[in-house]
Symmetry: C2
Subunit: 392 residues, 2 copies
C-alpha cells in the first residue's frame, strides 16, 4: 500500500508526549553552568512549579533518569532490608514496582487485578487487615499498559486507616494530566517522568516526598540499627539529592537542557492552570472514546484514565498490522498492547501538547486504516461523533 503521507509524522503514543514549541526553543539556548547562580534560579523556579503540579507543599527531588529510575529510587531509599510491601498489580507498571522490590529482596504481597480492571477496594481492605506489618503500599495511578485509572485517594485512606505503611504512587502518566492532590489525599511519595504530563523530552524523573515520608527517611538515616538495613544504592540517593537541594543544586550533573525545557513547560502549565489542563484532557478523552465507539469498536479499560484510551482490536483485524498501516500509510504512530495484550488492544494518548483538532486528525487516520483493513463502518462517523462532543 502506498503511503498517503510522504513527509509528516504524528505521534500519539502514551509518552513520550508532544512538546510545546516554546519548550523546544528554551532547550536550544546556551545552558548555564550547573553550579552557578543562574542555575540556582532555574532550580528554584522549577521546584516551586513542580510543587504546584504535584499539589504539594513538600519537597520535590529532580533525578536524571527515566521514570523507572525514579521508581527504583523510592524503593532503594525508603525501604529497609527485611521489610514487606504490598503492591497493587493491575498491569505492566504495577509489575514493575513488584520487580524492583524483588530486585532489592523486599518481600512483596501482590493484589493482582485482572488487566483492564481497576483495583477493588474491598480486596485491598482485606489484604491490609491480613498484612498490617507492611512498610509500604505501591500503586499505579494511571496504568498505561491497560489505560485504567485507580482511586488513589480512597486507597491512601484505606492504607492509613489500617497500617503505618507509606503510600507510594507511580504518577508517571497522571501528574499534570489527571486530578491529583498529593497533600490533600495524604499520598506519601509520588514519582513522575519528564516525558508525560509536563511535556518535556524523556530523561528525568521527579519524586515528591511528603513530610511524613521525609521524617521516616530521616529517622532511618539517623538510627544505627536501621542504617545497617539500608538497601544498597548510590546514584539515586535521596539524602544526597536533598543535601544538594539546600544549595539549589542537584547531587550530580543534571540533564540541564531538560530542566530548561521543564522551566518553560511549567510556566505554560501555570498560565493554563492545572484544573483547565485536567478538564482539557478529560474532554479530549471523551471525544476520542465517542469516536471509536461510533466506529463500532469497544473500549478496553473498565475505568479509563484520561491520559490515554485503550481500545480492543475488533475481531478479524490484525492488531499489529493495524498499527503498522497507520504508521506506513498515514504517518501516525500509536501504541499496541504490551505483554498479554499484544495484538489485542491499541492505545492512543491524550496527554501532552494536543488540542481537539489533533485528536480529529488521529481519528480520521484510525478510520482510514480500519477501512484499509476491511472493517465495515460509515467513513467519517468517528470524526462526526467527536465533533458533537467538541461542540458542547
Amino acid at each position: 500500500m502506498k503511503t498517503k503521507n510522504p513527509m509528516r509524522q504524528r505521534i500519539f503514543t502514551p509518552g513520550p508526549t508532544q512538546i510545546p514549541e516554546r519548550v523546544t526553543v528554551a532547550m536550544s539556548q546556551p545552558f548555564p553552568y550547573h553550579r552557578g547562580p543562574e542555575f540556582k534560579k532555574l532550580f528554584e523556579e522549577v521546584t516551586a512549579n513542580l510543587q504546584y503540579v504535584f499539589q504539594t507543599q513538600s519537597e520535590v527531588l529532580l533525578l536524571t533518569a527515566s521514570g523507572t529510575g525514579g521508581m527504583e529510587a523510592c524503593v532503594a531509599n525508603l525501604l529497609l532490608s527485611g521489610q514487606k510491601a504490598l503492591v497493587i498489580v493491575a498491569g505492566k507498571f504495577g509489575e514493575r514496582w513488584q520487580e524492583i522490590c524483588q530486585a532489592f529482596d523486599i518481600e512483596t504481597i501482590a493484589l493482582n487485578v485482572p488487566w483492564g480492571e481497576a483495583p477493588d477496594l474491598e480486596s485491598l481492605n482485606k489484604m491490609l487487615q491480613a498484612h498490617s506489618d507492611i512498610a509500604a503500599v505501591f500503586c499505579t495511578h494511571s496504568e498505561t499498559s491497560t489505560g485504567v485509572v485507580c482511586e488513589v485517594k480512597a486507597i491512601a485512606e484505606l492504607v492509613h486507616a489500617h497500617t503505618d505503611a507509606l503510600v507510594i504512587v507511580d504518577g508517571i502518566t497522571s501528574v499534570g494530566v489527571l486530578p491529583f492532590f498529593m497533600d490533600k489525599w495524604n499520598v506519601d511519595v509520588c514519582v513522575t517522568g519528564s516525558q508525560k504530563g509536563v511535556m518535556v523530552p524523556p530523561g528525568m524523573a521527579y519524586v515528591a516526598l511528603s513530610e511524613r515520608a521525609m521524617k521516616r527517611f530521616e529517622m532511618q538515616q539517623r538510627d544505627e540499627a536501621l542504617m545497617r538495613r539500608n538497601l544498597p544504592h548510590y546514584y539515586l540517593d535521596f539524602a544526597k539529592a536533598r543535601e544538594a537541594a539546600k544549595e539549589r543544586m542537584t547531587a550530580w550533573t543534571p540533564a540541564i537542557t531538560l530542566l530548561m525545557g521543564l522551566q518553560e513547560s511549567l510556566r505554560l502549565m501555570r498560565e493554563t492552570g492545572l484544573e483547565n489542563l485536567w478538564n482539557h484532557y478529560a474532554r479530549l478523552a471523551q471525544a476520542v472514546r465517542a469516536g471509536v465507539q461510533a466506529l463500532g469498536l469497544e473500549l478496553f479499560a473498565k475505568v479509563p484514565s484520561n491520559a490515554l484510551t485503550s481500545v480492543k482490536v475488533p475481531d478479524g483485524i490484525d492488531g499489529r498490522k493495524f498499527v503498522e498501516t497507520l504508521r506506513t500509510s498515514h504517518g501516525l504512530t500509536i501504541a499496541g498492547g504490551q505483554g498479554p495484550l499484544k495484538g489485542k488492544i491499541f492505545r492512543v494518548t491524550h496527554m501532552g501538547y494536543y488540542d481537539h483538532l489533533d485528536m480529529v486528525a488521529l481519528m480520521a487516520g484510525l478510520e482510514l486504516a480500519l477501512r484499509d483493513l476491511g472493517w465495515k463502518f460509515e467513513l467519517g462517523a468517528g470524526v462526526a461523533a467527536m465533533q458533537k462532543v467538541c461542540a458542547c
Copy 2:
C-alpha cells in the same frame, strides 16, 4: 566592580562542555518514537560510532543517567557480594569509585595517590602482588578534580599480569579527548558521559564492555551460586540493556533528544577524525599552559590531562574571588578546586567545541581578572605566549 560584559556568557568548566551548533539543531527536531523503526536506525548509527570513539569492537551500552550512574552500573552489575576491589584514588573521582563500592558493601583496597600526582606503577605493582584475589581494579583515566592523567595502558598490563581482575576505567573526561584504545590496551570496561568529549548536554552515560567483561557477566548470570551474590539493582541493569540492544532499543525510555544530539556530534567527530581531535586538544592545552606560565603562575598537575588545565592560585590572590571576578566582570565561568583544593587551584577546560581563539579569549579574561586582583605581570604576556604556540 562594573561588568565589562553585560550580555555574553562563556563557560570553560571541565564539563558540561560547549555544544556544536549542529548538535543543538539536531536536538531541536521532532523526536522519533523510541520503539519505532526510525529510532532503531539512530540506535545503530550511534552505537557504531561510539565503538569508534572508544576504539572497541565490543558492546557499548546507552544509559540515561549522569556519568556517576554509569559508574554505579559497572559496580552493581559486574561485582558480586563478598568480592574485593582495588581502587586507585588520586582525587575526587577516584574517591567516587570507592564510595560506590562501599555503598554496595564491596571491600576496597585503596591505592592512595597525593592529589595532583599520577598513580605510581611500582606501588600498584606491590599492591597487586599482595592482593591477587581482587575482582576488579578501578581507575580514573583523566582525574578532573586535579587535572592529572594516568597511564591506563600500563595499569591494565600490570593488572592482567598479576590477577584475573577486570580493569574498569572512568573515561568520563578522557574518551574522545585523550588517546584511549579500549581493545588495544585490554581495558575491560570503560564509562563516559554525554557532556564531555562527545559534546552533548548532560544526561547520558555510555558503558563499553570488552568480550572478557561480557563473558564474565554472562557466566555470573548463569551460575546459580553466583547469581545469589548479585548486587541489588534494577534500572541500571546490563542484562536488560543488552537484551534491548539486540532489538536496537534501550531497556527504558531513553533521553531521546540527547541521543539525537549524540548522533550529530559523533558524525562531526568522525568527519574530524579521532586522532585530529586528540592532537587538537593537546595543542589547546599546550598553548594555555604556556600562557599561564608566562603570567608567572604554576601548573598544579604533575602529569597533566589535556582535557583540562589546573593552575595553582598564586599567593596573595583569593581563589574564590578570582573565579567570582571572572564571572561577574568578564562573563567567564571556570571551575575552582574541589574538596581539599577549594580556593587553592582553578581549572579550565580544553575539551569540547572550542578552538585556539576561544582559548585566547579565555586567557585574555584570566589576565584581566588577575590584574583586577593585583597580580603583577605584563598585560598580554599570556596571550602572546599562547600565540607563539599556535604559530608553530
